[in-house]
Amino acid sequence: MKNTDASIHPYPAGDSTLARMALEASELGFDSIVAIGDAGDQYHGIKVLRGAVICAASVKEVLRQVRSSAVRDADVVFVNAGDISFNRAVVAVKEVHVIRNIHATRRNAFDHVAARSAAERGVAVDISIAPIVHLRGTKRQKALQRYADILSLQRRYGFGLTISSDARSMLGQRSVRDIRGLCALFGMTGAEVGEALSSVGRITEPHRPVRVVG
């Protein structure tokens, strides 16, 4: 999985079916996508992973939701970011793979403590291009600031990044080249974008020491 769109929302959450979005993703240069709340399969040569999003106000609620069957069956588990204490605690939850919606949080909601913890536990932070594409004015400026802040923490502590279109329609999907250009707006280099696009593969199939069986 070299280029993965880390989250799309197919029909009925959006207006495009999973097969159509997979077809579009293949034309846009992706080889895999993570479909939120939809069954994983192979469409038009695109590997479709199942994603689950946990939206909770407290870590207790997150721990309750990770036990649900929808989350247990998911290949990639996302948690919507919250305040500083929530984010620090949620990166320590074993079942959580990615923290998303970071652009919607307050300035220091994901700080150096959460960054260090995320790097140690292999939790990635999602960068959604939807706010850059769809928002205008101060809201987009704030999103770009947040992403630049996350990038500086990532360079310091080395936690993973994922990049998602967060598309609810095939009109919201963007090509790998467009994503490189959009991520350059907040200072991300081409190599970092390439690394981030391939990080879902490392989340689902992490490098582990070789075990001697038998």
Partner: protein, 160 residues
């Protein structure tokens, strides 16, 4: 007025973009306004003024955007942030960048729906079905304005 000698003219680049969804009958001026709005909100008046973006061609689901040489990457990024054309949801996909319009015209492959358009009913809503190559099926709600669109494939439509 005597034209400038070639060596003194500003060098230009042309960007070929595909307009989505298929079948969008976008007016050239409306495409220009969308491109300039997206570029201005992203890079500001000064940068866009220097880039001099213009839409020089718009037909058959494609548009050619002109800009000054050296600014084509910025304009391509701005094109990725276009969400709507004339209040209708749309997206622009960059296909190619060239120094001549002639070279881009060779890259244009018109995408037209297959002739047999049908009707389908989802719930209480009737949709017109447009079939495109690669088994793409666009469903457009029957109505006069601001119709809802759904994007399926042939297999999805058969399942329902």
């Amino acid at each position: 007025m005597k034209p400038r000698p070639p060596a003194m003219r500003a060098k230009r680049r042309y960007i070929l973009v595909r307009i989505l969804p298929y079948g969008t009958t976008a007016d050239q001026k409306q495409v220009y306004l969308s491109v300039v709005e997206a570029a201005t909100s992203l890079f500001g008046d000064a940068a866009v003024g220097l880039a001099q973006p213009a839409v020089v061609f718009c037909d058959g689901g494609y548009a050619v955007v002109r800009c000054r040489r050296g600014t084509e990457k910025d304009i391509a990024v701005a094109l990725a942030t276009v969400n709507a054309i004339a209040d209708e949801r749309a997206a622009l996909r960059t296909v190619a960048v060239s120094g001549t319009i002639h070279a881009l015209r060779r890259r244009i492959k018109p995408i037209r729906p297959f002739s047999e358009a049908g009707d389908v009913k989802f719930g209480e809503t009737y949709f017109t079905v447009y079939r495109y190559p690669r088994q793409k099926v666009d469903l457009v709600e029957k109505g006069i304005k601001h119709q809802k669109s759904l994007f399926f494939t042939e297999a999805d439509l058969e399942e329902r």
